[in-house]
């Protein structure tokens, strides 16, 4: 049986020496969060707000350590100022992973609306972003993009599609 998406993601992070994982929790990300907590290779902890995780990871990279920030769509929407005034102008390879809400069965109108701001923000700031949809593409996209992010000193965002993760479903 194929490895599930979160095991593939954790494997790629290890392969690229990304050992710091900051996050604001999300139900879809839970198996990945559980996995990085259980694996002593990773330093993983929750932060109070997404901006804070971006700052911690930026500082870690300045000090020679690689990190990734996990969040959901609404959390991404708190980041544009920090991306535009820290990651992009200082050329910091901030790695972001967003579990996508707001589409394919969303039940919360707030999530649906805020989700529409995500890709326009990424594209406006010229931040490389990829939607991870098919399990067989996850390793390739992530490996190449992480290599590119560090080589070009530019942030990169991975969006986890409900097609990959199953998403969050309406609890009737």
């Amino acid at each position: 049986m194929d490895e599930p998406w979160f095991e593939v993601v954790a494997g790629v992070l290890k392969q690229h020496k990304v050992d710091l994982v900051t996050y604001v929790p999300d139900n879809v990300l839970r198996p990945l969060i559980d996995l990085v907590h259980a694996d002593p290779y990773f330093t993983a902890f929750a932060v109070a707000r997404e901006e804070e995780g971006l700052g911690i990871n930026a500082g870690a990279w300045l000090g020679g350590r690689r990190g990734i920030l996990l969040m959901q769509t609404s959390g991404f929407a708190t980041l544009p100022n920090a991306l535009a005034s820290l990651s992009v102008p200082f050329q910091i390879p901030s790695l972001l992973m967003v579990s996508e809400r707001g589409t394919m069965g969303e039940f919360n109108i707030g999530q649906q609306l805020v989700a529409r701001t995500m890709r326009p923000v990424l594209d406006t700031l010229l931040i490389e972003n990829h939607t991870l949809t098919h399990l067989e593409d996850v390793a390739f996209i992530m490996e190449r993009s992480i290599t590119q992010a560090f080589a070009t000193q530019a942030p990169c965002c991975f969006i986890l599609s409900p097609l990959l993760t199953g998403g969050k479903v309406f609890a009737a």
Binding site: L20, T43, F45, V47, A48, R49, E51, E52, G53, L54, G55, I56, N57, A58, G59, A60, W61, L62, G63, G64, R65, G67, N81, A82, A84, S85, L86, P89, F90, Q91, I92
Partner: protein, 187 residues
């Protein structure tokens, strides 16, 4: 106390290439004015992130002491970061809060510390037990010396006057970053 004066006193106590993160605005302007060091990082936006950035550097280089300089308006934006620092027990991090009770750079509008919010009390409530107000310049120097010698995390509050900074930091982010990384031995 005066921002430039105590920043100068702090820098004079640094002997081991300690990293210093200057929060946005006047906080990092006076850090720059004291004299550039290769281990100084100057923010140009991302208000409130001096403590998280300092924490990240501290995580990456646990044997180096890191000082995050932040203003009252800035830390009020990211109070959660004090709880994160406390929860992680980041031993090599010291936070210095320059509190003049005002958004000085935008015209001196009052901040919430002028209305009664006490940053040191908030920090203690977040679990940062080694949080104190520096009563005067000599107490400040003693606290900085202590924070450089003993395990943190530390938070040192300083009530400062509203004098303008002595200079303005050069606003060139890739150069600031490159110098800082070389200063930390990463490049």
């Amino acid at each position: 106390m005066n921002r430039f004066d105590i920043t100068k006193r702090m820098v004079a106590l640094l002997r081991h290439d300690e990293a210093v993160i200057g929060g946005i605005g006047y906080t990092n302007f006076d850090l720059w004015a004291v004299g550039h060091r290769a281990q100084n990082f100057y923010m140009l936006g991302s208000m409130g992130l001096a403590v998280p950035i300092g924490m990240g550097v501290a995580l990456a280089q646990p044997r180096r002491k890191v000082i995050a300089l932040e203003g009252d308006g800035s830390i009020l934006m990211q109070l959660g970061s004090l709880a994160t620092v406390a929860a992680r027990g980041q031993k090599n991090l010291a936070i210095v809060i320059m509190d003049n009770g005002a958004y000085q750079i935008t015209g001196g509008q009052k901040t919430l510390t002028e209305e009664g919010a006490d940053i040191v009390a908030i920090a203690r409530g977040c679990g940062l037990n080694q949080s104190v107000w520096a009563a005067d310049e000599s107490a400040f120097e003693e606290l900085i010396a202590l924070s450089l010698k003993e395990d943190g995390p530390w938070l040192i509050g300083c009530r400062i006057d509203s004098e303008k900074p002595k200079d303005t930091t050069e606003r060139d982010p890739p150069i600031i970053k490159d110098r800082f990384m070389r200063g930390l031995g990463v490049k």
